[in-house]
Symmetry: C2
Subunit: 70 residues, 2 copies
């Protein structure tokens, strides 16, 4: 299986490394939904995030999400 973990990127633009907060493990699908995105895991869990896909690092199994409107 080639799912990835979704992380919320925080502290962006400030000095130091951005913080990564784990949002969901084993993400299969990411779909646009209203003013955000819907994460769906391989187990069928769903989580809506008011944000967008910032970047991917698939060999590391990582999806980075950034919140909008902060």
């Amino acid at each position: 299986m080639c799912e990835a973990n979704a992380y919320l990127l925080e502290n962006d633009g400030k000095p130091g490394k951005p913080d990564e907060i784990l949002l969901m493990e084993a993400v299969d699908k990411v779909e646009p939904d209203e003013d955000g995105i819907l994460l769906v895991s391989i187990f069928g869990e769903q989580k809506f995030i008011k944000g967008h896909v910032h970047s991917l690092s698939l060999v590391d199994h990582k999806i980075y999400i950034k919140q909008t409107g902060e």
Copy 2:
């Protein structure tokens, strides 16, 4: 390895299924870059796309990209 193929979504919003155009195989990283995104494959190939990540389907190894400013 858990890389995915990147597809450009076309014909969105029109009747019928959106067309998928293969942009790059074996994508590892997707990074924001200026007014678009940079795709980097596991072989180190790079491709800049003036667009954004539309959606993901990782179990199917698919990254969908939508162009901006069309």
